[in-house]
Symmetry: C2
Subunit: 408 residues, 2 copies
């Protein structure tokens, strides 16, 4: 019911983006981006469940919960504005006020987001100069969205974007999004920063419900390192410029919108796991036939979070004992002697365990399967009918290198 198109945050009607090199922490690269809608948007956000919440998370949560109209989001990379006290919240307000002034919109219609090092204060002069530079450059071009996706990267090696179109009530609607995040990824909500724009007209509560549902099976199902960030933010803006009949929670069209949004968030989450810090493999774990949806999710996440499983995937080693072990300590009860386990990739598929014990598989064939860039591990629990999928990556020398050096 939807089509995937080449696009990002500028694909939906009425959305523009811009980027600049404000010199906040990095040199020689862009580090600020803006997303602006021509007309006011309904908004919804999901944020980190970490007790330690960055200033922009506290700031945006208040605004997405309480403000009817949102016009723009201002984002910086390099400094997370987390653990910055009252001074940090003041920076959010000054940033928003500056953008509102230049865009000539209400001051409470601006959201802000930050990612980078925890504990440093933002250099406000550089941020304000960055906004000055971006506003005249705002553009709805495909390239403007792409450049914005690049500007918000930290240790990411590539930008992450996705866009889909679908029809509601004879009108073409579009959802586009971008996300960043490669480390401190174990979202208990959405991960790091994700911005989604749509021109679909949809009620605020339907928008929030669709976002929460999509996030549960996408951003909440990936892990790079088991660390939940202080800055996790996922915001969706809807400006209604597709002029469709408004989508409500109970309408038939809600299903169409949700299906498209779910595809988009899963695509972005998968891109994030594949670009995990230092990663050389994407690991996709399917848990099948678990006793409940919640248990299926817990089991799948336990496997992708296991350092030992991740190191084995890096070594192309079919060390299935570590996977069974990670299922075992997940907290979910099951009978280990019923579990079947498969490895699969473009290089083939192998049943590795049957009823908890190793099959007579070829280690050589297994290594060949695990040599592919994307590896799927399926765990059949034979304990019910619930399924879940989680995405992670391998643990490599480069993960350690990146994180031993990150601040310096």
């Amino acid at each position: 019911m939807f089509q995937v198109i080449d696009g990002g945050v500028t694909s939906a009607k009425g959305f523009k983006a811009a980027n600049t090199a404000a010199g906040i922490k990095y040199t020689g690269r862009d580090d600020m981006a803006m997303i602006v809608s021509d007309s006011p948007c309904r908004s919804a956000g999901t944020y980190t469940k970490n007790v330690v919440k960055a200033a922009p998370v506290q700031f945006d949560r208040m605004r997405t919960d309480n403000t009817a109209d949102i016009h723009a989001i201002v984002v910086n990379a390099g400094i997370a504005n987390a653990c910055t006290g009252m001074e940090g919240l003041k920076c959010c307000r000054l940033t928003a006020d500056k953008a509102a002034e230049l865009l000539d919109v209400r001051t409470d219609s601006i959201l802000v987001a930050s990612t980078g090092v925890i504990g440093m204060q933002l250099p406000m002069e550089k941020l304000e100069a960055g906004i000055d530079a971006m506003v005249p450059k705002l553009s709805s071009d495909r390239e403007a969205g792409h450049a914005a996706a690049k500007a918000i990267m930290t240790t990411d090696t590539r930008p992450k974007e996705c866009a889909v179109t679908f029809e509601i009530d004879g009108k073409t609607c579009t959802i586009g999004g971008m996300t960043k995040g490669a480390g401190m990824i174990h979202p208990n909500m959405g991960t790091m920063l994700c911005f989604i724009t749509t021109d679909c007209e949809i009620e605020k509560w339907a928008l929030l419900e669709a976002l929460k549902t999509s996030v549960k099976d996408s951003f909440n199902m990936i892990s790079v390192d088991g660390d939940t960030s202080t800055n996790d933010t996922c915001i969706i803006l809807s400006n209604g410029q597709a002029k469709n009949k408004i989508v409500t929670k109970d309408s038939e069209e809600y299903g169409i919108f949700l299906e498209a949004l779910q595809y988009l968030t899963k695509s972005l989450a998968r891109q994030m796991a594949a670009d995990g810090e230092g990663a050389s493999h994407l690991l996709e774990v399917h848990v099948k036939n678990a006793s409940s949806d919640e248990n299926a999710r817990i089991l799948a996440k336990s496997v992708i979070t296991s350092n030992l499983t991740k190191a084995a995937i890096y070594g192309r080693d079919a060390n299935w004992g570590r996977i069974l072990c990670a299922l075992g300590y997940s907290g979910v009860n099951f009978d280990p002697e019923r579990v079947d386990l498969y490895f699969e990739s473009v290089n083939g598929k192998l049943k590795i365990i049957e009823n908890g014990v190793a099959t007579d598989y070829s280690e050589e064939k297994a290594t060949q399967i695990l040599s592919a860039e994307e590896v799927i591990c399926t765990c059949d629990m034979k304990d019910g009918s619930a399924d879940a999928t989680a995405w992670g990556c391998d643990l490599t020398y480069d993960y350690v290198k990146i994180n031993a050096d990150y601040r310096s």
Copy 2:
């Protein structure tokens, strides 16, 4: 009330040990050990809470729970005898029967333990030949205990032992122990393999209670990689040869026994964290003034388990944001703006955060402190009066190397 002595599992009266190179998986090194008491022992054990339990865990749990007298423990390294089905349990029984026959004791008085690769069956002929070789060599020498501690190592780089003596009722009692474990260490009970012997006469339920209490604040407070093993086992044997008045749970002497056992288990746990796979630093985390004992423990474990904190410690980077972040996602509620944080080592002590915000500390001095082999991080929550300590290690290239290659 107790004294630390140079010793291990042969320090308590009436305990002997032996070791041999049985060629189970490794070549050119010892890989089997036995601990034998002259006289029958009361026993207590704590085992992994992983749903996937290795055969020896299932086997020993039945025996420590139900058998009055235990005489010996037979241990092998190289193969974990986990995920081995009925065949695996049969190997436990055959091993115990063989040892009982040669020692001329009841067949149900033998415990077995295994550590190593998951999913392979034990080569029974080699195990039986190993027992044949060890029984004539049993010795109560200090060196015999030390050699046994070496024989049970897998990726450990050094043996881990401790012994303490104390007086009960005018009689000198001794507790000695050895442990192994460097990876798959995130015990939800005791970790990997730990064997403790004592000549103190103590009731079975007092022994179990003392073991559980000690394990909670020692082996359950360390983590190398967040992976809880299938084989975690901690067994204590008491043969009563000190001839003291029997210690009961309600006696005054129970406190003396417990204090000595707690010291011993903490020492062994600390040694294990310091020898974590690939580790170059021991990280000791003190959580002070938390709202409850349970919360203090959860907070301390969350910090030592954080991959990002571990990588920062490797990089000697005072990246306190990651520590605050790990406290924040632990699941415990607290006010981030009250937290103080200190780093400490032989090179000095620094207050890094006060009330949730960075102090004006010297990064150079912080790096110097973090360059020591043992680093202490103190988190003052100012939220109550409960304290907890946890031990972990840094995340290094070598951890990845060891675990990408372990099976091959």
